[in-house]
């Protein structure tokens, strides 16, 4: 069936809830907090997306998937990238953070006011997503993607990634 009447905002949000982040497939783009706004005009939908990281290689893939998901419901979609206000991990819901933890990635804590040059002012240790211990240490500021750091748990000896608070 091809939709001819204008969809409701709830319809569009529901479709977007099914679009996964290619890097973290347990989260939808809505849970990630990168969909900033939608606008509907007839069967034309404009989706405003803000990048998680400016150089994030997943953004093109996300745009393609968003357009594809809406097109499969007969909608003509356009993605607009907005930079301001800059994305923050605080826009991730608690449910999303718990999904991340269950997936084996330590979720970001709340962002805190930091000095411009954050050198040598390390935050509290990141709890291990596997055993919950705080006996963890940072191995590298950058993990498999720039948005994560590499940690190791000294209690269960499991290495893991931490989605950095930004």
């Amino acid at each position: 069936m091809v939709a001819r009447s204008a969809p409701s905002p709830a319809d569009v949000w529901e479709i977007l809830e099914e679009v996964r982040d290619p890097e973290v497939p347990v989260l939808s783009v809505v849970e990630l907090g990168i969909v900033r706004d939608i606008a509907i005009e007839g069967d034309h939908v404009t989706v405003q997306i803000t990048p998680t990281y400016s150089g994030c290689p997943a953004m093109h893939e996300i745009e393609r998937t968003v357009v594809g998901a809406l097109a499969s419901r007969g909608l003509v979609a356009e993605v607009r990238t907005v930079f301001s206000p800059a994305w923050t991990t605080d826009w991730m819901s608690d449910v999303a953070k718990e999904k991340l933890r269950a997936y084996g990635i330590a979720p970001p804590g709340p962002t805190t006011e930091q000095p411009l040059v954050p050198l040598m002012r390390r935050a509290a240790p990141v709890p291990c997503p596997f055993c919950g211990s705080r006996e963890t240490e940072t191995r590298s500021e950058f993990g498999s993607t720039a948005c994560k750091s590499l940690q190791v748990c000294n209690a269960c000896r499991q290495p893991f990634e931490h989605f950095k608070a930004i």
Binding site: P51, Y53, S54, G55, V82, F83, S84, P85, A86, W87, Q114, L116, V117, P118, L119, M120, E141, F142, A146, K164, I166
Partner: protein, 164 residues
């Protein structure tokens, strides 16, 4: 510059990203809303680069005798390229006058003070040499750039039109 010593990589990244951080911080308050928004985003990310390279600088500088010597040598070798970080060109001056850009010279003091603080933690000596390499802003580069560009283009040049 050829790849090789990790000390060179870390010192270069620290000198540059610290500069970028101060420039982007000021750019957040420029008169162009979109540019200011991009800068606000970039500040968050650049801080990680400063922390990453800065902590390595301290670890290497205040590490073993060999790591200290090598990273000090890197700082001495790369110092001559830092002068140009604070030079603008004519286009930039026009944009600064219109409130759309940051005068690179205006971040020099903050950059220098922060560098000295980190160098202190790393037990490194900041060079006092005043001769600075110039020309990059006018498109005159060292011979290394040609090799670098060739290497970065090799896949696209060898497989025209390739997609993946």
């Amino acid at each position: 510059m050829p790849n090789g010593d990790f000390g060179d990589t870390i010192v270069r990244q620290f000198l540059f990203s610290l500069h970028a951080l101060f420039v982007l911080d000021a750019l957040q308050r420029c008169g162009h809303p979109e540019l200011a928004g991009i800068a606000a985003k970039a500040v968050k990310e650049t801080r990680y680069h400063v922390r990453h390279s800065g902590e390595w600088l301290v670890r290497l500088g205040d590490g073993t005798e060999e790591s200290h010597e090598r990273v000090q040598r890197s700082l001495d070798r790369l110092w001559r390229y830092t002068g140009e970080l604070f030079e603008g060109d004519e286009v930039e001056s026009r944009l600064v006058a219109q409130g759309y850009a940051v005068d690179p010279a205006s971040v020099r003091d903050a950059w220098s003070a922060q560098l000295r603080e980190v160098a202190g933690l790393a037990t490194l000596t900041v060079p006092t040499e005043v001769h600075m390499q110039r020309g990059g802003r006018d498109g005159r580069h060292t011979e290394h750039l040609g090799h670098l560009l060739a290497e970065m283009q090799i896949v696209a040049r060898s497989h025209p039109g390739a997609t993946w």
